[in-house]
């Protein structure tokens, strides 16, 4: 293979750009983004928050789940421009500043609720969102499975994730 002949041109894409203002993990963000950029790509590639994963880009796997104004949402089905004015929380905001795991994360660890860890940020954000909602939680087996029914995991077979949700409820004093 020959040596490179020259630096490739640094052309830009021809996409129209739009300014967005939003809050991400408590921080005010102002950026100019392509009109068709997905929120998942915006978080990952523009902000470097690569903890939000992308498993399908068609709204089925839940890997890309973030909290949008407190509610779990698919960042792959949301355009960055649609997030204008909203407050987004990603997995990077969940543990304490010193790295101490949040009880939901701790529960996943104790219960071996993750293997490859690719689905995990989406799982955690979904569970966290549900736990932070007002009102009672259905912590029966079926209730927990229902709570998890928007997130695919190909590694664990889910039982340990079900156990982790129950353990998280315990750690958080929820029932």
């Amino acid at each position: 293979m020959t040596r490179p002949m020259k630096q490739a041109g640094s052309a830009r894409s021809g996409d129209a750009q739009v300014d967005v203002e939003l809050t991400v993990n408590g921080e005010a963000i102002r950026r100019s983004v392509s009109v068709r950029m997905l929120l998942s790509d915006f978080l990952r590639h523009e902000l470097g928050l690569t903890g939000t994963h992308v498993g399908c880009e068609h709204g089925v796997c839940g890997c890309c789940t973030v909290l949008i104004d407190g509610k779990p949402g698919r960042s792959c089905l949301t355009l960055a421009v649609q997030a204008n004015g909203y407050s987004i929380r990603t997995i990077e905001s969940v543990a304490a500043a010193d790295g101490t795991l949040h009880p939901v994360q701790q529960a996943f660890k104790e219960c071996h609720g993750l293997q490859c860890g690719y689905c995990t940020p989406g799982m955690v954000m979904n569970v966290l969102g549900r736990f932070e909602e007002e009102g009672p939680l259905d912590l029966s087996d079926d209730g927990i499975r229902e709570l998890l029914s928007g997130n695919l995991c190909r590694c664990t077979g889910y039982l340990n994730i079900v156990a982790a949700v129950r353990r998280a409820a315990e750690l958080l004093g929820r029932s």
Binding site: M1, T2, R3, P4, M5, A8, S10, A11, R12, S13, G14, D15, S34, M37, R44, G48, T50, G51, T52, H53, V54, G55, C56, H58, G59, V60, C61, T90, V94, L101, Q105, F108, K109, E110, H112, L114, Q115, C116, G117, Y118, C119, T120, P121, V124, D141, R145, E146, L148, S149, N151, L152, C153, R154, C155, T156, G157, Y158, L159, N160, V162
Partner: protein, 797 residues
């Protein structure tokens, strides 16, 4: 640490980082100024390419380069045939970019490199390809007939390979049979569907001539070797890193996927980092798949139910190419007799080209198909002889005292004779019956039936040859500054927890906490001898290599500590990251021993100062480093298994079928498995459970729906049904631990075990549940509601 870590259910070292979102998967690696790749893929299953026009794509703003087969120079060749075998005639492998013909929907035709993926995809859509579509035949049986449309012009009858193996005297057995049963079964095409799709990124440093490739692969060392040879660069100048990888299950080991060559090529040519992140649709139409086999199996039995002979003929769909040779079919053919004695075996297969994505091993690798065939046949035999399904198996299982049990004449995928090394098969079967409540099931079934509910009992046994060679290595080093232990091996991990189990192995030898053992793998700069993660081999092959190495380092530590503390070696014990004089409170920390084992010039820290407080770590005259001695506490060693070590298990379930809705619910699922000594039962259960969930997917839901024209109709997670938590029942997993006699740790592999038996269990259970409607047959998985409806209709319901 005096408690033994081997066998402990300890939490994983890697988890905090993954839980905080700090994992580093390929697309997370920050590469400044990176370019992005999109592929143009064939929309036809078979076509001639008359012309490709890339002008519009090249002119599109943001596009940096567009490649067709004419633009990739020396890479425009067929990719390697990884495992040659004489049973293949003229084996076909793929080119990075199609030249002349396309052979399946999804085959890469052109590559666009642009400033971002959005732009690259736009430009790929602007490439105009003039295709002349050709006829296709998707059905394997018809594809073998004379005159069938060909996947490759040069291969008549689409026959990729033909292979026969036999053990004992099958003809004699069938002549002596008192009863023969015969059954045809099918397992359909599926895919691994890891949550992270495949990904490759590359950076070329022109100044140093170094190529760095981040590849979500199960085989970084092999990829490194391949890249060095393809590009003609010294191996030392090529670094392949498999960082965190989001599941693999076999799909992520192939030399090569087109992108694994083309992305580094583009990075070298364009002088900027280049990235290809496969999307989900591409994973469905471009990354390896497995499973379709059609088996016709016959059992020659005595009236007692003893099976004295087996004949199996099967067709194996290899897709459009056969880069892995006959590996999948060979594993199926050598697993066909399962855990049963069956001394006389004839097994023959034909591998058939179909115009679909190539077939390479997916978790299970031919075993689910073989298990489905033999177990469904055993059920039928039991039915015909009026025997209970547990009983017929009990009468045929290899007895504990018959190990090692060789199947003379059958060669496994490692080229060695099939020899089942150890187990307690009968006990496993009895445990399954007890845990399921098989004794009282008939009563429960009758009671349910009286309430209009249809319960069935499903049962299947499996065996799994694990821990294939050739070898793996381990490097263990105690760091002189921190006293932490660094461990390297040549594998990569996709979530199995290698970092924790390998740490447990080392912790026991060196008296440290597993949290203080730092395992680095998946980086050819860290360790560059080895093979790959596949075939349930990591714990067996790397585990034992690391164990051997740790034993050597332990000896060095003991000797150095004895010298430093001026006592006999036998009076030293290792615990709490230090060497102690037994029964006293005299000790020296590991860090100090490591420091003292390195003849020093400078006391650069406390450990170095402390080391000077003790007697020298090495007792000898002459120069500081004696002849033949190496500095530090460090060793490298290798383990090469003499043969595969065979794990096994029994799965049983109670299923409920709703004959109105034609749905199947698993009410109870029991798994008894034996993978030898367990390093970490919690992680073993995780592996088994993950496998069972994939098995349930394969038993009931996951079916790649190829249309008659070769298009895949369900190339999305919306339509290809991977189970959610709502589809997975509680499972009780019980362990049996029969140590493997073949390796020092006594371990067997467990990565694939869970998925093997599930299809057979479910079909067996559904058949049993619907018995009130007649002797309905379920000989195909995934077992869909339509199949149940059809079967009921045929039975007049």
């Amino acid at each position: 640490m005096s408690t033994r870590m081997f066998g402990a259910r300890i939490e994983r070292n890697i988890d905090p980082k993954l839980l905080r979102g700090e994992g580093a998967f390929v697309d997370d690696i920050p590469l400044s100024d990176a370019l992005h790749v999109a592929f143009l893929r064939s929309p036809h299953a078979r076509a001639r390419i008359n012309a490709i026009d890339t002008a519009a794509a090249k002119a599109h703003p943001g596009v940096v380069a567009v490649y067709t087969c004419d633009d990739i120079g020396a890479l425009d060749v067929e990719m390697p045939l990884l495992i040659p075998h004489p049973s293949m005639t003229n084996p076909q492998t793929q080119r990075p970019l199609a030249r002349g013909d396309v052979h399946y929907v999804g085959q890469t035709v052109a590559m666009v490199v642009a400033v971002d993926r959005y732009t690259a995809e736009d430009a790929a859509a602007m490439i105009e390809v003039d295709y002349a579509p050709l006829a296709v035949e998707m059905d394997m049986i018809r594809a073998l007939q004379d005159g069938a449309p060909r996947v490759h012009a040069s291969i008549p009858n689409n026959l990729a390979a033909h292979f026969v193996q036999s053990s004992g005297d099958p003809d004699g057995a069938f002549a002596a049979a008192e009863h023969v049963t015969r059954i045809t079964v099918q397992v359909d095409r599926s895919t691994a569907a890891p949550m992270e799709c495949r990904a490759v990124a590359a950076r070329w440093e022109a100044v140093t001539g170094e190529l760095t490739v981040w590849d979500g692969t199960q085989a970084p060392i092999s990829v490194r070797g391949g890249l060095a040879s393809v590009f003609g660069i010294d191996e030392d100048k090529v670094r392949v890193i498999a960082p965190d990888v989001g599941g693999g299950f076999g799909q992520k080991v192939l030399l090569f996927y087109p992108d694994e060559l083309l992305v580094p090529m583009a990075a070298m040519q364009l002088g900027r980092p280049v990235k290809y992140i496969e999307d989900r649709r591409e994973n469905f139409i471009g990354s390896s798949q497995e499973r379709t086999q059609i088996h016709t199996i016959e059992l020659a039995a005595l009236k007692s139910g003893e099976v004295i002979g087996l004949r199996d003929f099967f067709l194996h769909d290899t897709g459009a190419f056969i880069p892995y040779g006959i590996a999948v079919a060979q594993v199926a053919s050598t697993s066909i007799a399962g855990p049963y004695r069956i001394p006389n075996i004839l097994v023959e297969f034909k591998a058939v080209y179909t115009p679909t994505v190539q077939v390479t091993p997916y978790r299970g690798c031919g075993r689910p198909q073989a298990c489905f065939a033999i177990e469904r046949a055993m059920d039928q035999l039991a039915q015909e002889l009026g025997l209970d399904r547990f009983e017929i198996r009990r009468r045929n299982l290899i007895a504990d005292n018959q190990f090692p049990y060789a199947r003379e004449g059958l060669l496994f995928a490692d080229g060695l004779k099939v020899t089942l090394d150890s187990g307690q098969y009968g006990k496993a079967l009895a445990m399954a019956a007890a845990e399921l409540g098989a004794e009282s099931f008939a009563a429960a079934q009758a009671k349910a039936l009286s309430e209009g509910r249809y319960l069935g009992l499903g049962l299947a046994c499996y065996v799994e040859g694990t821990g294939l060679g050739p070898y793996e290595g381990g490097h263990v080093k105690i760091h002189p500054i921190t006293g932490k232990v660094y461990v390297n091996t040549g594998l990569s991990t996709q979530g199995q927890g290698h970092d924790t189990v390998f740490a447990q192995i080392v912790a026991d030898q060196l008296g440290v906490s597993p949290q203080d053992v730092i395992v680095v793998e998946g980086d050819t700069k860290a360790f560059d001898w080895g093979v790959a993660t596949f075939a349930s081999r990591a714990a067996v092959v790397s585990g034992n290599a690391i164990h051997k190495t740790a034993v050597t380092v332990r000896k060095k530590v003991l000797q150095a500590a004895a010298n430093m503390l001026d006592v006999d070696i036998d009076s030293i014990e290792l615990r709490d990251s230090a060497a102690w004089v037994k029964g006293s409170n005299r000790f020296v920390p590991l860090a100090a021993i490591a420091t003292a084992s390195n003849p020093l010039r400078y006391a650069f820290n406390k450990a170095a100062q402390a080391a000077t407080q003790f007697a020298p770590a090495s007792k000898h005259d002459g120069p500081p480093l004696a002849e033949g001695e190496a500095p530090g506490l460090e060793a490298t060693d290798y383990y090469s298994p003499s043969q595969s070590t065979w794990a096994y298990g029994v799965h049983a379930a109670v299923v409920e079928v709703d004959p109105g809705l034609c749905t199947v619910k698993i009410r109870k699922y029991v798994c008894i498995h034996d993978c030898g000594n367990m390093i970490n039962p919690m992680l073993v259960e995780g592996q088994v459970m993950g496998g069972i969930a994939q098995g349930i997917g394969g038993a009931l839901y996951e079916h790649l729906d190829y249309q008659a024209d070769g298009n895949l109709a369900n190339a999305s997670l919306m339509d290809f049904l991977v189970p959610y938590a709502t589809e997975i029942p509680d499972v009780s997993i019980l362990h049996l631990e029969t140590p493997s006699p073949l390796n020092p740790l006594g371990v067997k592999g467990v990565g694939e075990a869970g998925c093997i038996a599930v299809g057979a269990v479910v079909a067996s259970g559904v058949e049993d549940a619907l018995r009130p409607f007649g002797a309905l047959k379920f000989h195909q998985v995934p077992l869909s509601p339509t199949m149940i409806a059809d079967a009921l209709e045929r039975a007049g319901h």
